[in-house]
């Protein structure tokens, strides 16, 4: 089969990661009024890397995602995706360049069908003009056909094909979370930003999710940046972890390094008596 390029894992069970930096975030920051939500955030995400972004509530994790996807413009710093500058670009341009995201609070298009949710994301790279749409030209119909097939392929991978014609709002919570990921993948991204994909899932579903995130990375050859509160999940699958607290990066390293870092423990559990 053609679509399994990463089926040759190394001895460690993970495919070899190219050291080449795909997403280069260089000291971005943003303030809201007097609040420095994110300061000097830097990250070099390699192609097909799987990195975690953790931190206590309000640490600025989702703000980092919003900066990366152009929802907010950074006050300072630069973002490059494979040497292409993305800072101060519009969100749809950034998506077209290859960064896709999911949302912490599910943001599907509730009144569109599951299939249309995926097709909408998939149509990004071949948009036809108004005239060919209104005249229903042959190329227009063929592209719609291809779009539909691709969407079904993707739905099939995630076993959602039987729900294709249901409204997204009628899916169960777990399926909606899944569809968010499918929709993001349909934009054909190079980098996938997952914002708390395990929120609200039961332990069994979390287990499946952890597995499928790795599968997604291998199969679609995307770099994944994951925000998650579920520590066992993050520690299990991430190669490298960045810890944010109050907008400041307090630690970077492998799961083991992060787990033993005093500042991380202090951020999560408080620093005890020395704090007062």
């Amino acid at each position: 089969m053609r679509n399994t390029p990463a089926a040759t894992p190394t001895a460690t069970g993970r495919p070899a990661i190219s050291s080449e930096t795909l997403l280069n975030i260089d000291a971005i920051g943003i303030s809201f009024g007097g609040l420095k939500a994110v300061q000097e955030f830097s990250l070099q995400l390699p192609a097909a890397g799987l990195f975690g972004l953790i931190g206590p509530n309000g640490a600025g994790k989702t703000t980092v995602f919003n900066l990366l996807t152009g929802v907010y413009q950074p006050d300072c710093g630069e973002i490059h995706l494979a040497s292409r500058r993305l800072s101060r670009r519009k969100p749809h341009e950034i998506t077209a360049a290859g960064i896709a995201r999911t949302f912490q609070n599910i943001r599907l298009f509730p009144d569109l069908s599951v299939l249309d949710n995926v097709r909408l994301a998939g149509q990004l790279h071949n948009q036809h003009g108004l005239l060919s749409t209104l005249l229903r030209t042959r190329s227009h119909r063929r592209e719609e056909q291809v779009l539909q097939e691709k969407a079904f392929d993707l739905l099939q991978v995630f076993e959602l094909q039987d729900r294709a014609y249901e409204l997204a709002s009628n899916l169960s919570y777990g399926h909606q979370r899944k569809l968010e990921i499918v929709r993001a993948l349909a934009t054909n991204p190079k980098v996938l930003l997952l914002d708390e994909p395990a929120a609200g899932l039961n332990p069994r579903e979390k287990k499946l999710l952890a597995h499928s995130i790795q599968q997604i990375r291998d199969r679609f050859q995307v770099a994944v940046l994951l925000i998650e509160h579920d520590m066992p999940l993050v520690m299990e699958i991430c190669e490298s972890i960045i810890v944010l607290d109050h907008g400041v990066t307090i630690c970077k390293g492998t799961p083991r390094e992060v787990q033993n870092d005093d500042r991380v423990i202090a951020a999560y559990l408080g620093s005890g008596l020395t704090d007062d």
Binding site: M1, R2, T69, G70, V71, K90, P91, H92, T95, A96, A100, R101, F103, R107, L108, F109, P110, D111, L112, D116, R119, L120, A121, Q123, L124, Q127, H128, T133, L134, L135, R136, T137, R138, R141, R142, E144, V146, L147, Q148, E149, K150, F152, D153, Q156, V157, F158, E159, Q161, D162, A164, Y165, R183, A184, T187, R204, K207, L208, H211, Q215, R219
Partner: protein, 391 residues
């Protein structure tokens, strides 16, 4: 089909697509078939039914057709793209004045009189058709300008801007000069007579030749419905609906929301302008007060009653809300009460509108292949589940 290898299968299915597509769909001209059928039906109606000027029911049918054009076009902005515009009558009136100016002064210059010129599909009717098109284009330009604030404003705030637009049109049209009725005066008119333009002021522009017929109304209605449906069922329509559903998610999925909003405004205004031209040439008069919000509100009610983005729903609502007041003429004094009561009941019982987000043909169960036949392109397997890990 033999599944020898994915590659050969791909070739086969591609070849099939290449050969079967032209025979099934032909070239772009065949895409005009629905419109051709619509024109044929419009022509039948035109010749089989009595003239609207003579028959009351035919007149109602004609007005209903124009109202559907306006309601369905507003539905592109309000229903599909989710922008709340209450200035649709402004676009309609702009188009009406534009086309009225062209036919009125055009026939005066061409034929020396403002009376109807030529018979069915005669030169006068073509002037009228061109003037409606010009009215539509003029309104579309205005739609572009009004669409721009929609990039920064949402909900109520955008509604106020569009409301203001309608009122501006009304006030500006009130400042125009008297209509020139004498061809000789027009021929010798200088700047003084033409500035401000002689469009009738607050009394309105009357004496417009009554070219609108069932044929033109239903031909244009067909075009409007075809365009609305093709938009809705295409990637552009999907993108518009995604803007309505969730702007932030739409952007994140690569939708240029600014473009889609302005596009919706321009297309809607274009058809509103054409509808305005039809109205002007049906009653023979346009008036600045047509641009007011009351008229706009009628169209908004139709889109709400029909269902968000539902073309068939809005069509039904437009028919109901045009025919119903006519039927209630016997209860003249209670008419508005009944009308308002119906709306209140509707909002209590079925707030999503008659058809909600669906089209009327969705009500019939349809056989759909949930999974397309395994083609070469869909040769993917699902992600393996770590069943052993779960134990």
């Amino acid at each position: 089909m033999s599944h020898s290898s994915p590659e050969t299968n791909a070739d086969i299915s591609n070849a099939e697509a290449m050969t079967s597509m032209p025979s099934r769909f032909g070239n772009a001209w065949t895409a005009l078939i629905p419109i051709a059928i619509g024109i044929a039906i419009a022509m039948l109606l035109h010749f089989l039914l009595p003239s609207p000027q003579k028959n009351y029911y035919v007149k109602v049918a004609q007005i209903t057709g124009i109202v559907i054009v306006l309601a369905v076009s507003l539905n592109i902005v309000n229903g599909m793209t989710g922008q709340f515009s209450i200035g649709h009558a402004g676009f309609m009136t702009l188009g009406g004045y534009m086309s009225a100016t062209i036919t009125y002064y055009g026939s005066m210059l061409l034929w020396g009189s403002t009376a109807k010129h030529g018979g069915f599909l005669g030169s006068g009717e073509w002037l009228f058709a061109a003037s409606c098109l010009a009215g539509g284009l003029f309104a579309a330009v205005a739609g572009y300008v009004v669409g721009l604030p929609s990039l920064r404003l949402r909900g109520d705030y955008l509604a106020i801007v569009t409301l203001g637009f309608g009122e501006i049109i009304r006030v500006v049209l009130q400042q125009t000069a008297k209509v020139i009725e004498d061809p000789d005066v027009l021929a010798n008119a200088g700047v003084a007579e033409l500035v401000p333009p002689p469009l009738g002021g607050s009394l309105g522009f009357s004496g417009i030749p009554k070219y609108t017929s069932l044929f033109w109304v239903y031909a244009i209605l067909t075009a409007t419905l075809v365009v609305a449906w093709r938009l809705k069922s295409s990637s552009i329509g999907r993108a518009m609906i995604s803007v309505r559903e969730d702007e932030i998610a739409a952007q994140a999925m690569g939708v240029n929301i600014a473009r889609k909003k302005v596009m919706a405004f321009v297309i809607a205004a274009f058809f509103a302008g054409i509808g305005g031209g039809l109205f002007a040439h049906s009653t023979g008069a346009v008036s600045p007060k047509d641009a007011g919000f009351q008229q706009s509100f009628d169209f908004v009610i139709m889109t709400v009653l029909g269902g968000r983005g539902s073309i068939s729903g809005v069509t039904i609502a437009a028919i109901l809300l045009t025919v119903l007041p006519e039927l209630l003429r016997d209860f003249e004094q209670y008419r508005l009460i009944i009308y308002a009561l119906l709306l209140v009941i509707m909002m209590l019982v079925r707030p999503q509108g008659l058809l909600g987000i669906h089209e009327i043909w969705d009500l019939w169960p349809r056989r759909r292949a949930t999974v397309p036949a395994p083609t070469a392109t869909s040769s993917v397997a699902s992600l393996p589940t770590p069943s052993q890990e779960l134990k």
